[in-house]
Symmetry: C2
Subunit: 363 residues, 2 copies
């Protein structure tokens, strides 16, 4: 096992590759384009693991990420975040070099972005299929049609299709619930496709959450899928039913720096700035991560009963029912939300001890 | 006002300097050493604002920060985090150059750290005055005495004194409650001082939370205080009663990228990776930040009624009762927890548009 001196985000490369292989194979079987969301890993190297398996397109959630992946040769990128015309310079820079797909989530964005565009972009309309974060309400037929026409008349925007993110699957607790949400999403998307397919023959229908991409075997009818989290998975996904604990490819390694057996607690070097403050509540206990057992080859996921009960900036408080931790031990913690944990850390370290670089926060 | 294209952490330099001036003046009046906690700002430049006002010592929460501030000439640094012997190389590197003060939070740490030390360090005992995160229980007289003797017998460690962090003041909702917790802390610390002062005449008694440092006028009896958050303040501190809203020196500027008046919501570019996921609950509503009004010179803190109700990775959902936001607007949001928000961002931007650099996450 790698030598650990401070909080270190371990990446089990084999599990990660198996997660990638599984979705690549499923997408191929359904003849759907896999355009994975790279906001989860934000790493050139991990992006290449997808490319090595035939993936040619990707999704990101900021222009900063789009520039980073364009540098590594990705030439067809969707920014699945409502277009922000204040960043028109970056948009033009990218659009001059690659196929850039932007997202229109409010009709007001169309003229704003249109007025500054100097290069061709593809524009998707964001459809709210029930998550209620962003997008056009599917029954707002008038506004959807108006937006499609506005884009279609633009000399620099091409109407590319409809995009949705069924983020409400994150509230599911069974595969049945996930499938039911996916079914509703499909009905909405099919309705739009039926209406616009004749006018736009290359229409792309793009859907994307990890729970649906994980529990469904086939993705008939859609043009592309954009799951992100499944590259790593995490405890939230395990609870939803998207993965098993054994498929989670990340664990944070943290030194134990103090022990308080009288209250069944150990303090680790690992806090909110490492894990993020996302938590989950199970049986009235709030957890910021679950302690798993170290093995020679990585970690075993049989329960240790220990979990991260509280986080401050650099400290983590671990509940240790067995009081079996001592100062100087290194514990491994499965993350609650892999995307935010990975974003908080500067790099990954594989179980073989290799560093895997990732995009740094903008300065 | 500065031109904003993406989430930008604005720093009102005047408010920040006033916060610094206030605590410097209070510390001087009480003849107590101000050793501010620099984990909040993690910036050479802001550190210098303290130094310009006579502050010569600082506190940090990681060795990574200690190295960063040592580079800028800080030569007496306390790492107020349980010492981690896995980082002995960094400890030795620092201890060879500056006065390094380490923290012993478990007796097991003493021999572990002792065995690798090559240069002199000062060691504080961490006393748990009621927060129950780290430190020796004050009634565990036997173990405290054993630890003091172990340190005293070490050829490379000098017993420096007792250190506490009354983090439970964060749960207070009035100055009276804060003062009562501070009083209990003082009684514990005075007890230890009485016992050990004769044997250790340079004994340092170090206390440190922002709420106490803010509401108390004088700090008689202690040797030093280590408040950190008060350099910026935030909504949590305002609720505790440590500051007024006008004293909060940070606001995140975020472009509005979509509006949904039918549900009184606007979507901003600004999510968990910018604000952190720390939230506060007031009157059954959970808030991740409060929208304030932009002015020519910065922001006014009269309430807009709008607040950040939810965050995902890059999106923020703002509740907008008046539906007075449109796509393209830039909103300013006061942070719930300044330390974590600042840590998530790569730099500060003053209201005059100057960048203020800060330490990047370790890679």
């Amino acid at each position: 096992m790698v030598q650990i001196s401070r909080p270190t985000l371990l990446l089990d490369r084999k599990k990660c590759l198996a997660n990638i292989d599984r979705i690549v194979s499923k997408a191929n079987k359904s003849d759907v384009v896999l355009r994975p969301h790279f906001k989860t890993h934000q790493s050139h190297e991990i992006g290449r693991w997808f490319r090595d398996r035939g993936v040619e397109k990707c999704t990101v959630s900021s222009l900063h990420m789009a520039e980073y992946f364009a540098e590594d040769g990705w030439d067809d990128i969707t920014v699945a975040f409502p277009v922000n015309h204040h960043e028109i310079e970056v948009i033009n820079r990218l659009a001059s070099k690659i196929t850039l797909n932007i997202l229109i989530a409010s009709i007001e964005s169309v003229p704003l972005i249109q007025s500054g565009l100097k290069h061709n972009v593809n524009a998707f309309l964001d459809i709210d299929t029930g998550y209620h974060r962003t997008g056009f309400a599917p029954d707002n037929v008038k506004e959807i049609d108006e937006a499609v026409q506005l884009i279609d008349r633009s000399p620099v925007m091409r109407f590319a299709g409809f995009l949705s993110h069924a983020g409400h699957t994150y509230k599911c607790r069974s595969q049945k619930e996930i499938k039911s949400i996916h079914q509703e999403e499909m009905e909405i998307m099919f309705g739009l496709e039926n209406k616009y397919r004749s006018a736009f023959k290359d229409l792309i229908m793009s859907v994307g959450d990890t729970p649906s991409a994980s529990v469904l075997d086939r993705f008939e009818g859609m043009t592309e899928i954009r799951p992100g989290n499944l590259v790593f998975y995490d405890l939230v996904q395990e609870r939803i039913g998207s993965c098993t604990k054994d498929q989670i490819a990340l664990a944070m390694a943290c030194p134990v720096v103090a022990v308080y057996p009288e209250r069944n607690e150990a303090i680790i070097y690992g806090g909110g700035v490492h894990f993020s403050k996302d938590s989950m509540t199970i049986d009235d206990r709030t957890s910021f991560g679950e302690v798993v057992e170290k093995t020679d080859k990585g970690w075993s996921t049989s329960s240790t009963g220990s979990y991260l009960k509280s986080l401050s900036q650099e400290h983590g408080i671990v509940h240790v029912p067995e009081n079996n931790l001592k100062v100087g031990d290194v514990v491994l913690v499965l993350p609650v939300h892999a995307c935010l944990t990975a974003d908080a850390m500067g790099s990954y370290t594989t179980l073989e001890g290799e560093k895997v670089a990732r995009l740094a926060s903008p300065v």
